[in-house]
């Protein structure tokens, strides 16, 4: 189980690095899918099979498909890829990298200073999640549904084309 975790974690990190460095949109998306699947595997190793399933279905499945559609609709061809590559000149990486390293260092420092007790890992079944969702978190679920509805309407309105007038 440990090996699975480390392996999938390494894949997740590696594929994510590839996502943010690719010039071609479709390639990046595919790496992102890989990253998400690896994270789903991590979920599984952490005893959250339900979340792992959702990760695969919703994230890697639905959301990424949406991305793929849009990227294809944009028709980002080779020219776009060349331009992307040009935009990614080396010096542009410096600032963000420093920020990211700082962030990581801070979090690592926190982890180091807080001696965590050995985890008590247990599988949390889907049933327990469902009971929690429709019990104490009912209001959050309702809010989430409202959010999705708003996003639906908003996306429709924004992307709606009225005969060439956008």
């Amino acid at each position: 189980m440990n090996a699975t975790f480390y392996l999938s974690a390494a894949i997740a990190v590696l594929s994510t690095v590839l996502v943010i460095t690719r010039a071609n949109g479709v390639h990046a998306l595919l790496y992102l899918v890989v990253s998400l699947l690896a994270v789903a595997l991590v979920f599984f190793t952490l005893g959250a099979p339900f979340a792992a399933a959702l990760e695969v279905i919703v994230y890697a499945g639905a959301i990424m498909v949406l991305f793929v559609f849009v990227v294809m609709m944009m028709n980002l061809g080779d020219a776009a890829a060349v331009r992307e590559a040009r935009w990614m000149e080396p010096k542009i990486w410096v600032g963000p990298s420093i920020l990211a390293i700082l962030l990581t260092a801070q979090l690592a420092y926190m982890l180091d200073s807080n001696t965590m007790s050995q985890p008590h890992h247990a599988i949390v079944p889907a049933r327990a999640v469902g009971i929690a969702m429709y019990g104490p978190y009912l209001l959050c679920v309702e809010l989430a549904s409202m959010l999705l509805l708003a996003a639906l309407v908003g996306a429709y309105r924004l992307a709606h084309t009225e005969h060439g007038r956008l």
Partner: protein
Amino acid sequence: MTTIPLDHVLILPVLLFALGVIGVLVRRNLVFILMSIEIMLNAAGLMFIIAGARWGQPDGQVMFLLVLTLAAAEVSVGLALIIRIRHRLTTLDSDAADLLQG
């Protein structure tokens, strides 16, 4: 179940999140920025799952679900905006969309 030290587990979302940040700041293409945001959201979700697993409670997964819905909503609206911007500015360069300049 597993005996992975919590420190090791927690490093993963941190790294993912940091990579997302780099992505947002480095890429000029709006689609990539959106993808990087997805990475960051996913990292946050992972953090919830880890916390939930640590205490053996379902709350972490509930939160992950909420993050998931948030990501879905965000992506749909974000992509719609990207389409719109692409039509309006004929580019996906985020630096070109600087109409808010003071």
